[in-house]
Subunit: 105 residues, 2 copies
Amino acid sequence: MSNNSKESLRFPAAFKALSNPHRLALFYRLMNCCEPGTKCNAASAARFCVGDLGEGLNIAPSTLSHHLKELNRAGLVEMERRGKNVECWVEPEKLKSLSSFFQND
Amino acid sequence: MSNNSKESLRFPAAFKALSNPHRLALFYRLMNCCEPGTKCNAASAARFCVGDLGEGLNIAPSTLSHHLKELNRAGLVEMERRGKNVECWVEPEKLKSLSSFFQND
DNA sequence: ACTATTATTCGAAAAATGTCGAATAATAGC
DNA sequence: GCTATTATTCGACATTTTTCGAATAATAGT
């Protein structure tokens, strides 16, 4: 009932997912949800639909889909169908986990 | 005179370098320099020589060397010859950079 | 100079990854 | 039910990566 198919974050898989420039760009877009310079309201995680996320990346829809699936499987990105679109977002707690991975002090 | 060939950290390259399980293990060892459970003195970055770093990883010396070179080129790991050995370490500032990459708040 | 130790470079082979187009699925609106 | 929109799955192919062993380099000690 509770766990709605959200993948949990595991570091090796996460870094592997971020190792591709396209996937890193996609993740970065979701991380920095608002326009460059501005800051998101921490409360509302920004959502992009798949098509919009790939905007400007010059990759085929099938490739885009593949990359988002990888990000999702790595536990970095959540996805949920909403009508014709599939919405994607990053849970803030995932960012915290990643951030603290590198803080050994 | 000043810049002693230390590669600067760039995120896409860094995540790519960390995408391999062996390289992640090597980096993790250097990050968490002391024995599991204990904490390093922040002042003294721990150093491993190449051979010791690869201990237990079951990879050929040539493979180990290759991976460390990649970590170095990505700006994650510093390397310096000291006698017969080559010492490796992680600059604490690199960890800070990586950590803050994920903190967009 | 010779030997032992430690690490790197250099191919080469096997495995994994990134990419696409075509076909398929899921949904919404008519 | 048909059509349009949005996204995914499924091969297939090209590229990249991982890995190794053999040869080479760098250093220290005898």
